[in-house]
Symmetry: D2
Subunit: 380 residues, 4 copies
């Protein structure tokens, strides 16, 4: 960019748990003569203000994908815009490709937060038609690029506290099984311990707050669950999903801690959340997931949905006991001071609920059936 635009550059690298030596970004930038280098740890903000709100909705895109990549982009974009404002930058840039989703997630966020910003997307604007031409460019300008475990040019990798994803190369053939070495963030179920791990996760108002009764910060909770989940082979997903640009994409996702939290959150809701609020959440969720996937985190309709989702969580407080074992993250118990479940209410034995008259069910059934009966009598 220095070559092309003859302009001063400010670099920004967010530490959102990608697990590499983040300070290398500073060194690389300084080597290239960049004067203003921002390297910031955003892990707590990432988990607290992005990952947890999304978990409240039990979010899964297309039934499976936990949105590890899309949920990180708006945070990076937001901080980037703030830095642009602080430094008086004319334009912002990102390195996302021209056929993927990330360009949308970055740029829709930029535009939503600063509508008059100029955006530079080298991948689309320069002659970088493919990963190969990118590697040639890097070589020409002596930019070191990480290679994979076997020394080959890398898969398209994205990593943060929530997940690691791998795309591209042989993965572009969904009929071919992914080689084991591609999985980088989790032990395989086969190699996981033979003994289960049991743990308690505490929730308050829909958000996890503790592990085994120990109160932890949002990022610390996710970190701890990543560790436990990864060791127990949890959170691997081999998926073909639909991109916003109209293409299908195959990705390998590893989301150990997020998977545990997803299962646990549903379990704490199962005893504390009103049925109809839960069903409404389930019906809104695919649309909410799609908004995040497509890059509309900062759109008003996402915020509108969030306000309904957040409203529902006021009593979602309690503890879930989970068992982790060779790829399985299962609920074995759940309790809450707000529990709407009461053995006295549903027991098959004579109940203290003097008010539940067996005859009530007759009336309930008959009025629910009335339109069906009329329809059959009058229209067949």
């Amino acid at each position: 960019m220095q070559d092309t635009y003859q302009c001063e550059i400010v670099t920004f690298t967010a530490n959102i748990g990608q697990g590499k030596d983040i300070e290398l970004a500073r060194e690389k930038a300084e080597l290239m003569g960049v004067k203003e280098v921002y390297v910031e740890n955003l892990c707590e903000e990432f988990v607290r203000d992005f990952v947890f709100p999304m978990l409240r909705a039990n979010t899964l895109y297309e039934g499976n994908y936990m949105l590890g990549t899309p949920i990180a982009r708006p945070l990076i974009a937001k901080r980037q815009i703030e830095i642009a404002n602080e430094t008086g930058a004319d334009a912002v840039a990102h390195g996302a490709t021209s056929k993927g989703n990330d360009q949308l997630r970055f740029e829709l966020s930029y535009y939503a937060l600063k509508p008059d910003i100029k955006i530079i997307a080298p991948w689309r604007e320069w002659n970088l038609r493919s990963r190969t031409s990118l590697m040639n460019y890097a070589e020409k300008y002596h930019i070191t690029v990480q290679t994979d475990k076997r020394g080959a040019t890398p898969f398209s990798l994205d990593a943060n506290m929530l997940h690691v994803s791998s795309e591209g190369k042989v993965l572009e053939y969904p009929e071919i099984q992914a080689a084991d070495y591609i999985w980088s963030n989790t032990t395989s179920p086969e190699d996981a311990p033979d003994k289960p791990t049991i743990l308690d996760i505490g929730f308050e108002n829909g958000d996890p707050v503790s592990i085994d009764s120990k109160r932890l910060s949002p990022a610390s909770i996710l970190l701890k669950l990543n560790e436990l989940g990864s060791a127990n082979g949890i959170g691997r997903l081999d998926l073909v999903e639909n991109r916003f640009v109209g293409l299908k994409n195959r990705g390998l996702y590893e989301t150990p801690g997020g998977t545990i939290l997803h299962v646990a959150h549903r379990a704490i809701e199962s005893i504390t959340l009103d049925r109809e609020m839960g069903h409404l959440k389930d019906e809104l969720m695919p649309r909410y997931a799609k908004l995040i996937y497509n890059g509309f985190w900062f759109a008003p309709e996402r915020e509108m949905l969030q306000s309904a989702i957040d409203f529902s969580q006021y009593a979602v407080t309690g503890t879930v006991t989970m068992k982790l074992y060779k790829g399985n993250a299962v609920v074995i118990a759940r309790k809450s001071a707000n529990s709407l479940f009461s053995a006295n209410w549903v027991t098959f034995e004579e109940s203290n609920l003097i008010d539940y008259n067996d005859k009530d069910a007759t009336g309930f059934i008959k009025l629910n059936a009335l339109r069906l009966r009329l329809k059959k009598m009058l229209q067949s």
Copy 2:
């Protein structure tokens, strides 16, 4: 009922794969002097006309429950009404309790199919206020009742080709872990083989038609997958769910073959189904699941949703390769002659798709961003 109503009784027992000696029902009925005893095998119809249509929708109630019990009730009710018509019966009866869902599933189906039918629900109409009083009644009239593995009075069990469920007794305490012996239909993940099972499932128009290239009938496919799934510890679920009558319920569900088919169906859709049809299905699914759970299989709105779901499946044909291992049922490959995924279209390398101009993405992003930019400029 013979005692209470002094009427002639016709008994009907449907074999839908509950796995007990179904002919015992005949003997028991004949012992009591019943002249017309219907015992029928409905397994193929059950899987073909009820389980598979439901699987086309990727149906999960409250995010998890595969509806093994609710999907069987309408079939039993339908055949029961046919028999009532054949034998000139004045009334139909069932044995479901007064606080559960099954009374709704039976009776809404009866009413929808024969609006002038009289329904007898002994549990609500007689003095059977609890399971204990039922056991006393059975003892008094010398009716043998099955006890559990340990000789105790049973959990509330429901079994068919799709699942086995257990409810009641200690399970009414969701904060207490379920004892291992309650699981009756699956090997535990811990006891499952250390070696994975790999298999191919073939689909046509959204329905499974073969295993490892061998064409099988609907019931045979489910039977085979139950066997494989059960051996590999697949399909256990410990859940608190919301009943239609307004109570929460804790159940243990074992759905080995159904779980495999659910995962596989999503995978074959992932390469053959148009994105927007898929997203529409995802948004309609919770409502469709609720209808089945609540007993509205024969309601017109269920049929209306089914017509949309079935429409979407015309190209959902191909093969999914799955790995089963200690509780995990995961997709490792998928292929189809109708695949909408093409390496040529999404490759990061230079593509043959001359038509995908990198600049197109710029326009796509800018027009998607336009309302966000205007909003920020004009309303903040």
Copy 3:
């Protein structure tokens, strides 16, 4: 009730604008020896906390009905429960019939607010099988009952500030045109003035606050618009709708002011509301309307939807100019300081919006078309 239960009675009559001499209720009660008689004016609360929140959602049940009756019931029930608490009453009662919706609206509200309350519903519990038997009962006990304009026993009438409804008698034949004399609250379009009325309605955050720039209280606004709407023949509706109990019902509704506000609210949203928030509101509205119609105002899912609806209204501020003429309430102009409409942005002439490049549309179209093209190429 005094006769049947030998108990002390507290009466409560809410003035929500039904327009009769409300103090007659006090006299009647005192004549019968009731010691505690509550007669209260709830008009402002009714409009501010019930009618206006509902209008924010552009609520119409089954495409047409403005829910004048159902929106009033929860307020009456709420105040009734408060009075029960204040007076230490054991039970509450209402006069709704056994096949209608109002019993649900009252009782679901009672139960939601005071779950252990005892409810007396004379219509269901006594022998009042029909309006005729009710009239006989009234005659026997010397209770005066209002008759209609022609001295006959009345239609089932419900009146409040939002609407007047008429049901029953000849209206039970939807194939018969309603006689003119049944309409009681509006001038007929034919008899309305030949000269239109033009007025400005001011909105703030989604709620009407002024007429012709004169700031008015919620009830005063509705009162004024009822007057103008009624004079101009606005708000008549002859409808067959679906009751919660499973029956269809024909009603005549007159909602003059509400109709004007409904049209005006959509108009102010049309220039101030983000597109996607608006579309989300439109998709949620039928469900929201159904909740109110069925009596679930105090249910958490209604509140959850309300939180999303209310979120959307923060910029819905401005002025709408309406023309009222012989049954027509139409928008002729709308303006707002928050307007998202700008002539500069959409003009067909050369625009100042340097940023809207004509080529952008090409990219937008091509990426929106991509999945359609792939589908056609690969699946047909």
Copy 4:
């Protein structure tokens, strides 16, 4: 195009009821030396296969707009593609502007039907930055362009059998009332007859088939209702709506016959359609309307929704009596052999429905209330 591309041109003009001398298009084309000139009457196909299916869904975009323009575009595009196939054309072109919706409706249809087609959009590709520059271009090449009633350059007009729309010029100021002369297709309510018109509309399976018992073709029905509606001042709409490209647009729409059919269709559904199918339709409708508005008529998700909508219409047969009077199109009666309404079922008098026990309502209410009561007791 002859000048720019030096290619042979085929012209196609569809008669879909725009009401101009359609053969002028032929003359104009021939004058310019075009050898293949297609002028075709598509009125019946337009109404039968596009307008009526859309009416089955009670389609309104953003609560008001009957989609007169968007529903015509896919038909034109479809026939254009067929002609391109017949004549071996390399490319298709259209005259829609670069900021509007019609470019999307044409091009998404072209691409969906013929994915490898080349599209020429002169407005975007040439230097036609505004209506003024277009008029200059026309003058330069001696192309006559229609002017408005007052001799001025025209509003942007679109006309077909369903509606006439006007956009642009002074209408770009939504705070300014539209001058009377802009309305071109309907009498004003003020000038409409003082005597109402009463008529019967017959429906079969959701589609109108007769007027006053006289069976007519689809186009003839719409033509007749346009005539009656127009004379009675029906179907004017002054609206600000949201475009797909992200802008708001103000349009004046005149849809006389369509407005009558919309009201009548809801009325025939009101007595023949099952409640839950109706509510499902209402919830799906905004999404269906959006798809048509945005140009996705030929997208699979529109067809999927259509299959559900069409399924619901099997019993929507009967007759609706309407009154047209000075802008009002109201229902005064409706009847059907399939009516689900029966005076016997809902009467307030003693009913023949022995099966509707007043006590049933108690049970219905109590079980609907149960979760609300539990929530209040356990969570507050």
